[in-house]
């Protein structure tokens, strides 16, 4: 038995490595990313230059930082349609508390984090307690926050934005951490890009290497089965929603720190883009399968596509059509690669 098993294992090892790589959800996305890069690199020399890369990496990072927790939530079986508008809530909260109520900017950051975690908790609590689809619950939260963001901003500021955060004491240190740039090879890279890479690494490690990650896959794949074997599905789901809100806190405050100002309607419409990035990266809409690295690659593809179209000088009236087409191609390519890999496994 042992000799035979050893033989079989060796055989597996040879074929296995390649197949195993292809089957990973992020691999198809990676191939897509390479294709998109090569395509636009040919169209524009600026695109493939360091300064061009700094540009599309910046776009990708703002999508990517949200796409990672959104992907983890999707693997756990849920959607958060309020992920975009929460970015606004977070930045506006910090801005108003500091520049209108006189709070120290670090205290405001702390309070807005508590606020966002509460919102995430409410989302998760409602989803697990009512059993209603997360799509519906977070849609309600999305509409509610949209109204709150605008209403409160108008009430407090009489305008539709909160500005002048760059004038408060303590701003400059904050700017270095959240909004500043790092010089690499003579080009300035937004520091958010580094945060994005770090978050991806953490997210991937949590998914693949921890108990919590196992619970995420299980809760998304079959919540009933998971509950029956003692997986704390409610706790897992609520944690994932709170994680998404914490990421929204980070992105919203990065924005108000970097620009010194934030609009009331920020983030609306972005929630679908985060979901698209996650799906490009291999996450199943039905849950139980996906990858944080994949979502990051999806965000990368989105950023390269959006900026590539501008660098290539295509007529910008047709912009949305191009973006839609490239995204569809990316998802199809990913699916094709995965099907091929899965078939050859049998």
């Amino acid at each position: 038995m042992t000799a035979a098993t050893a033989q079989v294992d060796e055989r597996l090892a040879n074929i296995g490595v390649v197949r195993r790589l292809l089957v990973k959800p992020e691999f198809g996305a990676l191939i897509g990313a390479v294709v998109v890069f090569v395509f636009f690199a040919f169209q524009s020399d600026v695109f493939r230059s360091l300064s061009g890369a700094a540009n599309w990496l910046d776009v990708s990072s703002t999508i990517g930082i949200m796409a990672v927790p959104v992907a983890m939530l999707m693997i756990g079986g849920h959607f958060d349609l309020s992920a975009g508008v929460q970015i606004g809530t977070a930045g506006l909260a910090t801005g108003i508390m500091t520049t209108y109520w006189g709070l120290n900017v670090y205290a405001s950051l702390f309070m807005s984090l508590l606020l966002m975690l509460t919102i995430g908790f409410i989302n998760g609590f409602l989803v697990t307690r009512t059993g209603l689809p997360s799509f519906i619950i977070t849609l309600g939260m999305f509409l509610g926050l949209q109204g709150i963001n605008l209403g409160v901003t108008k009430q407090v500021t009489n305008t539709v934005q909160v500005s002048n955060l760059d004038l408060v004491p303590g701003y400059h240190a904050l700017d270095n951490v959240l909004g500043g740039t790092v010089s690499i090879g003579g080009t300035k890279l937004q520091i958010a890009i580094l945060w994005w890479v770090l978050l991806t690494a953490l997210g991937s490690w949590a998914l693949l290497k921890t108990r919590f990650g196992n619970w995420i896959f299980a809760t998304g794949g079959d919540p009933n089965a998971s509950k029956n074997v003692g997986v704390p599905t409610n706790r897992t789901t609520i944690s994932l929603f709170m994680l998404t809100s914490a990421a929204a806190w980070f992105v919203g405050n990065t924005q108000i720190v970097r620009f010194g100002t934030i609009q009331a309607q920020v983030g609306i419409g972005q929630e679908l883009i985060f979901i698209v990035a996650a799906v490009i990266g291999g996450c199943l809409l039905t849950g139980g399968y996906g990858s944080a690295v994949g979502a990051t690659v999806g965000a990368l593809i989105f950023g390269m596509t959006q900026q590539g179209i501008v660098y290539a000088g295509w007529n910008s009236d047709w912009f949305k059509l191009f973006v839609g087409a490239m995204l569809l191609l990316a998802v199809l390519a990913n699916q094709f690669v995965r099907r091929y890999a899965e078939q050859s496994r049998r």
Partner: protein
């Protein structure tokens, strides 16, 4: 669950301690200074304002502020509704008509779509004033008067001013796809610039993305020496994009807010063209009040123009204070 309670209350105590120690007037840089005085008029008319403005748009927020202040000063009751979708705006007008107001203020970005509703208001004996857009159709629909600024004329003013400053190759940043007023502005610029004007689409709801797009365009095409934005919020990000792209392009914008005024003061923007949205809202309410009480009509059959007015380094500093209060 039981384990959690002490942790939460610890956090609450911690937070309270920070709050108590952290309040300081040095932080509140935005304390409101526009304590709008109430007027002494006691006309008590009901005025309905229905515009096509988007909810989060800084321009329309100023129109609304003007309309509401007009109501306060006249002693009228003013209601403000808006929708960017013409069909919805039509329904809002009908809803307003049902409440039998003493006057109606309407903006017509898509005159055909709201024609029927406006005519119904006129037929019901409600005096109508149009503002901001729809100047050409205003009289034929039966409105008393039109208050606004011609987009084409404003565009031409921008084009001429840029030409004066030696700008030859302009990108015109359109932040709302399909908005005819914005397209008219770009067309106006093209008419008088005497150089090249290329439109560039961005999304008003994703300003950081807009910055990246403008930056990319400037990096790609080094011959661009002028950027025109059609909204105050976009102007701020265009400013940053120009800096990041190390471009020497000159920036000008339509419409005004505090950041734009600051930019003109600092020399980051050449100028801003303002159509005084506050006046459009304010005068709409005031003119209806005067008509109802005294049958006064302003304009002599011609539109009442609120712009274009140029905000340059000369007058920007004074305007800045007012813009911060949301009235300019």
């Amino acid at each position: 669950m039981i384990r959690r309670v002490p942790r939460t209350s610890l956090a609450a105590v911690f937070a309270a301690a920070i709050l108590v120690s952290a309040c300081s007037s040095a932080n509140s840089v935005n304390v409101q200074h526009n304590k709008a005085g109430g007027g002494s008029g006691g006309y008590k008319y009901k005025i309905a304002v229905v515009t096509h403005g988007g909810a989060g748009d800084s321009f329309w927020s100023i129109v609304k502020a003007g309309a509401l202040q007009g109501g306060k000063d006249m002693g009228d009751k003013v209601s403000y509704q808006s929708s960017g979708d013409p069909a919805t705006q039509s329904q809002l007008i009908d809803a307003a008509i049902n409440q039998k107001p003493d006057g109606l203020v309407v903006s017509m970005a898509n005159p055909e779509a709201v024609k029927a509703a406006v005519k119904r208001a006129v037929a019901a004996g409600i005096p109508v004033i149009t503002i901001n857009a729809g100047e050409a159709e205003s009289k034929s629909y039966g409105a008393l008067s039109h208050i606004g600024s011609d987009e084409g004329v404003a565009g031409q003013a921008v084009g001429s001013e840029l030409k004066k400053n030696g700008v030859k190759n302009v990108i015109c940043v359109v932040q709302e796809a399909g908005n005819t007023a914005l397209e008219q502005r770009c067309a106006g610029v093209k008419a008088t610039l005497g150089g090249t004007v290329t439109n560039l689409q961005v999304d008003n709801n994703n300003l950081p993305g807009a910055q990246q797009i403008i930056q990319a365009k400037l990096q790609q095409d080094k011959s661009v020496d002028g950027v025109v934005t059609l909204g105050a919020q976009v102007a701020s990000v265009a400013e940053k994009a120009i800096a990041s792209a190390n471009s020497s392009a000159k920036l000008a914008t339509f419409d005004l807010n505090a950041d734009v005024a600051k930019g003109v003061v600092d020399g980051k923007l050449l100028f801003a063209v303002d159509q005084q949205p506050y006046l459009q809202g304010y005068l709409g309410v005031v003119m209806l009040t005067q008509y109802k009480s005294n049958l006064n009509v302003l304009g002599g059959g011609q539109p009442v123009l609120t712009g274009p007015t140029l905000i340059t380094k000369a007058n920007a500093a004074a305007v800045l204070k007012l813009a911060a209060g949301g009235t300019r």
